[in-house]
């Protein structure tokens, strides 16, 4: 191009459309071989898209399970002593009387306290000796700290405070479900509900809780009142006294480690503390180990794919020397010959990339559907994936294209 041609006519050229259609007919000339050639690229890029998609999907799944509420909740289970207790009576719980204050003193705690299902299933009525409305409703005992840790949304009235706990007031908080069942809607007349025919003044109605959703089908009375009227909590772990602690974000594991000593310096073994799982350890486990391994496998597949395309294209060049010689006699320049074979290998790579990407996407969607997950495909990783095939085909075609361009037309035409 540097020097102008000395000829009167314009130079030979190969238009883009002609180049593409020649390359395509080269690929389609031997469809079976073309498919086999693409296999490595298909597998490599399919694995690449599937691994990245499955990783993103699994991480998203962990993120969904691992909500903020869960990350800031610490559960404390009581292990009450059963020896030296009169038969028929429940042993006292290990939680000290000032549990709320001791928990609040721990750095990182927003609120905390004790709660338990009131033992003996009290009869719940709207008026003395009325019909039992309690089917399906549960009566919970809770300290003000435990109620605060549940983070109720109040529809009316007020929540429990330190005063009612200290003085063991006969008051009750109703869930909206319980209030509806008992016909309580307004609190300005200080309505009461009856537990075993004893009146409790309704001080508040809550519509939602962030922690312990079981409370949405229940009534909550002060822990001190429950102790006075119904005695100690049941000793079974699932029906007994439990600590509930709401922490600041990121503080849960540090708080959990301090709780046993803060509550009972004399008997730290009295409790089992369950902190939330550490989100980092979960996600890192999924991403680093498996992703690295599978991406390495995808890379190997791509390499194999590149070698496959290079090999097939080279074989095609050697098989088609006669065609190369003919094209040279018809006016093709060396560059036109190179471009044709390079375009063929690039087309093979691109086609392999497209098929591989589709298979990868199908895999991710199928796995997600089977596990009831939400499939997550990052466009930044999925959309350019076919282009990886293009690059693989282009690189793989370089050497064969060079060989094709260097074919001596004389020898090529003499060979047949």
């Amino acid at each position: 191009m540097s020097r102008r041609s000395v000829l009167p006519e314009p130079s030979s050229r190969l238009g883009l459309r002609d180049l593409l259609s020649e390359a395509l007919s080269g690929v389609l000339q031997r469809p079976g071989r073309s498919v086999l050639t693409m296999l490595g690229t298909v597998l490599g890029i399919g694995a690449f898209v599937a691994v990245l998609g499955l990783t993103a999907t699994a991480s998203g799944q962990i993120g969904e399970q691992f909500s903020l509420t869960r990350a800031t909740t610490v559960d404390v289970t009581d292990r009450p002593r059963t020896d030296g207790v009169a038969p028929g009576a429940n042993p006292p719980s290990n939680f000290p009387e000032d549990t709320d204050r001791r928990l609040a003193a721990i750095d990182g705690v927003r609120a905390g306290g004790v709660w338990w299902p009131v033992p003996g299933a009290p009869v719940i009525t709207a008026r003395p000796n009325g019909p039992n409305e309690g089917t399906g409703l549960s009566v919970l005992a809770a300290t003000p700290g435990a109620v605060a840790a549940m983070e109720p949304t109040l529809a009316a009235g007020v929540t429990m405070d330190a005063f009612v706990q200290r003085t063991a007031q006969p008051v009750v908080l109703l869930s909206e479900a319980a209030a509806g069942r008992l016909g309580v809607s307004r609190l300005d007349a200080q309505p009461a509900v009856f537990l075993d025919n004893v009146p409790y003044t309704v001080i508040g109605i809550y519509s939602d809780v962030r922690r312990r959703p079981g409370a949405l089908l229940g009534l909550v009375i002060p822990a001190s009142t429950a102790l006075e009227r119904y005695g100690n909590p049941a000793p079974q772990p699932d029906r007994g006294a439990q600590g509930l602690v709401a922490t600041r974000v990121g503080a849960a594991s540090v708080v959990a480690a301090q709780i046993p000593l803060a509550l009972r310096p004399d008997a730290p073994d009295a409790f089992t503390v369950v902190p939330p799982p550490d989100p980092h350890s979960l996600q890192d486990g999924v991403t680093s180990d498996l992703t690295g391994l599978f991406l390495a496998l995808a890379g190997i597949c791509l390499l194999v794919g590149a070698v496959g395309i290079a090999n097939t294209t080279l074989v095609a060049v050697l098989e088609r020397t006669e065609e190369i010689g003919l094209r040279r006699s018809l006016g093709a320049r060396t560059g036109h010959i190179a471009a044709q074979f390079l375009t063929e290998s690039t087309a093979l790579g691109t086609l392999g990339g497209l098929i591989g990407t589709s298979l990868g996407v199908v895999t991710v969607v199928a796995v997600a559907a089977a596990r009831d997950w939400t499939a997550v495909l990052q466009p930044a990783a999925t959309l350019p994936a076919p282009l990886i095939g293009t690059v693989v085909g282009l690189l793989a075609g370089l050497y064969p294209a060079l060989r094709a361009a260097r074919t001596d037309p004389l020898k090529a035409l003499r060979s047949a």
Binding site: V6, L7, S11, R327, S329, L330, G331, R333, P409, L410
Partner: protein, 242 residues
């Protein structure tokens, strides 16, 4: 013999053109030779196998370069041309007919002829029409969609001739065009050459077959790489004839 206007350069003008293959010892495939072919001439180059006929054809077709001498095609000195320009001349001004046809097996007769217009800037719209016309010219207007595998040797060679003439080149170069054909097919091909000659095409046909050479208007002979006008065969030992 020639109808060209005065001042038009000859199609082929060789002056002292020779080709020596390097090696130990070097092989002289063509001794320095002179040859002039004018527009519309029908020339046969004869000689036994190994005498240098194909060497001459490859030099004339710009597929090979002479080691000595000067070759002008249509008045263009080809010695100074780079590969790009030699490719351009091949695609525009030269049509090849090979002994073994060299048709692409997966393409129809028409597609094989269209291929000759791929590199020389023929607009895609006119390629089919030109290919059909060329096939009709060689008597294959009814076989345009046939694949080479389904055609006889004579038909295949006629497709190759159509491919060679579709660009209306200055020069048709044919290397043993009847070498792979039975006598009936060869006869049909030679009839086509006569027709093309009548239309004004310039033909150079290389053959070892005297019967083929006899159909041409003018003959030159090669023996051991030495070119001479066939009418003066006694002078072969002395060198090229004028």
């Amino acid at each position: 013999m020639t109808t060209e206007p005065p001042g038009t350069p000859p199609v082929i003008a060789l002056a002292g053109v020779g080709r020596t293959h390097p090696g130990r010892p070097p092989v002289v495939a063509l001794h320095p030779s002179d040859l002039t072919v004018h527009h519309g001439e029908y020339l046969a180059v004869t000689g036994p196998s190994g005498s240098g006929k194909s060497t001459l054809l490859h030099l004339l077709g710009l597929l090979d370069t002479p080691t000595t001498g000067r070759y002008e095609l249509d008045g263009i000195d080809t010695g100074s041309l780079r590969d790009r320009d030699r490719s351009t001349l091949r695609g525009r001004r030269i049509g090849f007919v090979f002994q073994s046809f060299h048709l692409l097996p997966h393409r129809t007769a028409e597609e094989n002829v269209v291929l000759a217009q791929l590199y020389n800037r023929t607009p895609p719209r006119t390629r089919r029409t030109a290919a059909l016309e060329a096939l009709r010219l060689v008597g294959l207007g009814h076989r345009t969609d046939a694949l080479p595998g389904t055609m006889s040797g004579g038909e295949r060679q006629r497709v190759a001739i159509a491919r060679a003439l579709v660009n209306r080149p200055s020069l048709l170069l044919c290397d043993e065009p009847t070498g792979n054909l039975d006598s009936a097919s060869a006869e049909a091909v030679l009839d086509r050459f006569d027709a093309l000659h009548a239309q004004g095409f310039t033909l150079v046909v290389i053959t070892h077959d005297p019967a083929v050479a006899a159909r041409a208007e003018r003959r030159v002979a090669i023996r051991d790489g030495v070119l001479s006008e066939a009418e003066a065969e006694v002078r072969t030992a002395e060198g090229p004839a004028r």
